[in-house]
Symmetry: C2
Amino acid sequence: MQGAAESNVLALAEASKLASAELALSSTQLRQRALLAIAEALELNAEKIAAANEIDLANCKKRVENGELKDSLFQRLKFDRAKILSTTQGIRQIAAMPEPLGVSTLARQLDEDLELYKISSSIGVVAVIFEARPEAMPQILALCLKTANAVLLKGGSEAERTNRLLFEIMQSAASAAGVPQAAFALLETRADVKQLLNADAFVDLIIPRGSNELVRSIQENTRIPVLGHAAGICHVYVDKTADLKMAEEVILDSKCQYPSACNAVETVLIHKDVLERILPALCAALQKRAVELRVDECCLQSLEKITNAEHDFDFDLLKAANENDWKEEYGELILSLKAVSSMQEAIEHINKFGSGHTEAMIAQDRTRFERFFRAVNSAGIYLNASTRFADGYRYGFGAELGISTSKMHPRGPVGIEGLLSYKYKILGKGHLVADYSGTNAKVFLHKDLS
Amino acid sequence: MQGAAESNVLALAEASKLASAELALSSTQLRQRALLAIAEALELNAEKIAAANEIDLANCKKRVENGELKDSLFQRLKFDRAKILSTTQGIRQIAAMPEPLGVSTLARQLDEDLELYKISSSIGVVAVIFEARPEAMPQILALCLKTANAVLLKGGSEAERTNRLLFEIMQSAASAAGVPQAAFALLETRADVKQLLNADAFVDLIIPRGSNELVRSIQENTRIPVLGHAAGICHVYVDKTADLKMAEEVILDSKCQYPSACNAVETVLIHKDVLERILPALCAALQKRAVELRVDECCLQSLEKITNAEHDFDFDLLKAANENDWKEEYGELILSLKAVSSMQEAIEHINKFGSGHTEAMIAQDRTRFERFFRAVNSAGIYLNASTRFADGYRYGFGAELGISTSKMHPRGPVGIEGLLSYKYKILGKGHLVADYSGTNAKVFLHKDLS
């Protein structure tokens, strides 16, 4: 096993870099075989893995009882036979996907016998810091192997025994299939992570999954590019052309289906023209699902009027929203509501306060949506669908390493394609730039090859 | 004119962000019209521009005479009628290129009436810090306008008058064509740049062109992503299957055609099998072009043997290379030479000491090149062509903002495509994630639409 003994992370990272060049040469068949061997080894060792996981679970249980850890963490930590089998099914799906490397996305004749190609390639060495969900490691390792990236893995300490065993099983299965052993390395301590941040000579990308604080602290302490994913202040904008019943259902799904996810909605913007018609029923439905509502002045006034008439919502449970509410990722059953007098105001609010993650517009007018789509600069912009669809699995990416809110690639859910880079290839016959310069310069053809 | 008076760069950047959303809504026709209006305005004002440039030139001349500035800077600063016309020709070419925005690169049916698209979009607000070449500003502005990015511009102070006039002419021509005025802003001082580095709420990307020190100092002082381009330690590897005459010509072109360019070669790696046959003639040819040679022990020994026979190179001019030579971007007529005993050794040397910019292999064996291509992780990897081809214009990108040595997009020469991001669009009919979860979960179709 490639361990991080004596915190020799730089040496591990250097070995990873060498292994990544070897991995870049590996055939599709070799990587496919290795993925299937990994799936098989995990299935063969399912009992052993579940047993190691039981120990992690027992340790975690004590800490939950002491109040050190949240109960939700305990739930996510569980890795039984059923979860192992669904994980290996995912690995087999990744193995069956088409080869992502060596795909030409540009082919151009620059001149006679001088051709330019843009070819998909691996990134090199990727480091992933992930939470205490045991299925995370097999998924990450499978995505990296598929894309021929070497990977340094650091999992949540609560899953330590499970992770170590998973790593041993997967590395030895991959090695037996011909993958260089140093292509995967396991980091186990915070000190390891600290060293990792200085390994910019060897590591090409760090992907920290977890809290916004974790992502930020890593970004501020390394020169390695960081894929900072997951900060999510998502919006649903209810347009004046919305089907209001649909709006209500999409908002409930976007908020309640999994409130702690980064793609859950935090703020709903409602066009004034439909405010009075949607608000009472929407508030009643959200309160019924135990959602705390923070509403702006305009919504409050609209609801006040209604309190004289018959209504199903509890006015006294409403809280007044202030500007901080537009900036907050609640991550729980809290939702802010704001009235806007135009789609333009909704766009400006989203571009100002949003995190560039995912926004949904509820509208029957497709032309208005196309304007909204072009003006809002977020990774995902949906018409009449829940923000919770922002997910690599739902997009059909096979699996997901996280969601990037970067403007640059990778953006949105990061799957196989997000782990690819590209290289330009030129094939010449001794071509010189001098011949294309000066007074008698040859002229480039620049003819795209089909 | 949108100036940076009172160093109010944050306010300028905020206005740019608002303008970028407006620009994202602009039609192809509007941006095309604005590009042509800019070209026309520059041509109409050519005499005025040349006159402003004369003043910059006169100021610069004094500083060259005082020894404050290099003569080469003076040469680059010149912006006469001929240069203006070749610049506007470039802008017309950019205007004529196909619309880069709104192009769908993924279309997938997730389920009945639920469709996913990946659509090219602008990045948002880009800041470019560039050297004292007056044609830089029109090129940068044209590329940003084509891609609907707002842009903050800071040019070399030596071209101050020329730049200010160019900016006024271009901004007013674009405004008259309907481009929001705040889409372009001019920064003029170092203090402005310092403020810019804190504008991470508004600026999406900084592109510093210039010295490695400039790029590094910006990277270390901002949370905004930096496209750090141009550090170039490029290699030519002469394989044992090389046509040696071709190797000599490509090396001469790669080194001498423009030695200060980032795509010029710094180190030549030669397979031992052909060392004795290529070295004497290669050294003689390079010395004839006034190239200082720094050679490793093995090359030295090989050349020593030959000094007994007839030869055209001057043995006494050779210097011994040490490891620092493998890490240095000479940027002038200096070249290091190293013998390698295998292609694998060449690959390892390049991956260890190279900067990921551009490498050329001289070989007749295409299969060996394909291995080299896969194992070397640089932005450009060429067979039998000069490293100097690494250039946006030569690639047919219309113009170039710089060359990125990043592993992530944009990589290599950065033209229109490098200034694009993408957004995911989902079109639904009220689709909820809850329906795709749990025991009776609906199954995704994930069917690619052609």
